[in-house]
């Protein structure tokens, strides 16, 4: 913690948050929200939460802002504001917010002090993770071992939640019939856009580097910040970059819809399959240490490390496929024809 930086970044964040709410144009709100996410990442880095910061970096810069733009692109930029005159409702809302805040502040006194070393969590569980996880799993990054091994079951269902989100987007937006187009609202002029040589060239050159960087993040989740989720998002972002600079047909050419959905399923299946493999080998679900019976040249500890790598790969594949399919659905109104 460096309090000078802490203070200045927090000030910027508060300004950004207010601006995001105050601005009426949705596109500008999305842009300022991008700045907010940059600053949030800085704050987390500064507090030492490197993995969280990495997630914010990849999701905020790579995907969420782009998805906001795509959504605004397909709908409208206008915020419908109510005329004033509902003073009573506003006063009521203010009262409710203040009351809730008051209750929360009162409840806060029951919590242990901030970062106190005497809370139950930091007395028993955290020291075990900090001292034993390297010995147990041979993975230096504690966050990875906690997420993928000690809490593996939890993380599996987090992946399932992401998968469900992708399914929901497909279910809502995807249309198969050609005729039910919904036309854009009136004030917009949409042109195809000029095929820009420079952007295309640079995007083409950068995309393989982004992909390799994503794979590096997945593979080195054990030693440095990052892991399956971040790597998957960055991998998806590289395809989105190609789709933005060329056309969504481009990435459909590389990765068709069928393949994409298949990959999403395969990712989740790899995760669950490793779990069932452990079950078959006679241990608990997702207890990787028995994998040493199958994998060559590993003892029990290295097997846990490799098992984690396996599920990270599963998570990465699932996340990548789902990010791409969400983007494609939003940008093309679920028709997969333009973008």
């Amino acid at each position: 913690m460096i309090w000078q930086l802490d203070l200045s970044i927090l000030t910027l964040i508060v300004i950004c948050a207010f601006a995001t709410i105050m601005v009426k144009d949705l596109l500008s709100a999305a842009i300022i929200f991008g700045a907010y996410s940059f600053l949030m990442c800085l704050l987390w880095t500064e507090m030492g939460a490197v993995d969280v910061a990495f997630t914010e970096a990849s999701v905020g810069a790579g995907v969420s802002t782009v998805l906001f733009f795509a959504a605004v692109h397909q709908t409208t930029r206008r915020v419908r504001t109510r005329k004033s005159g509902r003073m009573l409702a506003k006063v009521f809302a203010l009262m409710a917010a203040l009351l809730t805040g008051l209750v929360l502040i009162i409840a806060e006194t029951d919590f242990p002090g901030f970062a106190s070393p005497f809370t139950p969590a930091s007395l028993h569980l955290s020291p075990y993770y900090i001292t034993q996880s390297l010995h147990d799993t041979n993975v230096p990054n504690i966050v990875t071992s906690v997420l993928a091994d000690y809490r593996g079951f939890d993380t599996m269902f987090e992946t399932a939640v992401i998968f469900t989100a992708g399914l929901a987007v497909i279910a809502i937006l995807r249309r198969y019939k050609r005729d039910d187009r919904c036309d854009l609202p009136e004030p917009y002029v949409i042109s195809e856009g000029y095929p820009d040589t420079i952007i295309r060239f640079i995007a083409r050159q950068l995309a393989p580097f982004i992909q390799l960087f994503a794979l590096y993040v997945v593979a080195h989740g054990h030693h440095s910040p990052g892991g399956g989720f971040q790597g998957g998002v960055i991998l998806g972002a590289s395809f989105i970059l190609l789709a933005i600079s060329y056309d969504s047909r481009m990435i459909i050419g590389i990765m068709s819809e069928r393949l994409n959905i298949l990959l999403g399923n395969i990712g989740v299946l790899i995760y669950a399959g490793i779990g069932f493999l452990c079950l078959l080998l006679g241990a608990n679900f997702l207890d990787y240490s028995v994998l040493s019976k199958v994998l060559p040249a590993t003892d029990k500890i290295m097997a846990r490390s490799h098992g984690m790598l396996g599920i990270e790969i599963g998570v990465a594949i699932a996340v990548m496929a789902i990010v791409i399919s969400i983007y494609l659905n939003i940008i093309s109104h679920g028709k997969y024809d333009k973008g």
Binding site: Y194, P208, Y216, H220
Partner: protein
Amino acid sequence: MRYIYTFLIMFGFWILLSGKFDLFHLTLGVISSGLVSLISADLFMYDPQSRNHLTTGVRFLLYLPWLLFQIVLSTLHVTFLALHPKMKEQIDPTIVTFKTNLKTDIAKVALANSITLTPGTITIRVEDQVFYVHAISRKAAAGLPGEMEERLAKVFESD
């Protein structure tokens, strides 16, 4: 051929990133770079004419110091303009167009980005061979396309 080039570049990038030289991580690196070159080699090295990449690369590296010098000049120029008390008398923005003789994509992109990085000019768009350039003063506009085009033609198109 282009798969092999891409694979080698990607593997070099992997070694820089990874910094672990045990067998396990190197194997992962080989697999990843193979995967990436399989997916996007035809994107990375999309080039209709096959040319000697190596000499082009060396000549481009020789071009870079001159470009860096131009970037320093341009930053000083912007600094001077921004801190000048009567800035509005110094600038006189115009949009100029000119036609270039460069043909390949890479040469045009290098020219456009070099124009963006040199003092007082930014490329707005490139339509086939016509460049639209925004210049911040008449003096900067008069210097276009300048010696940059000749240098780039020497780098990319003399074989």
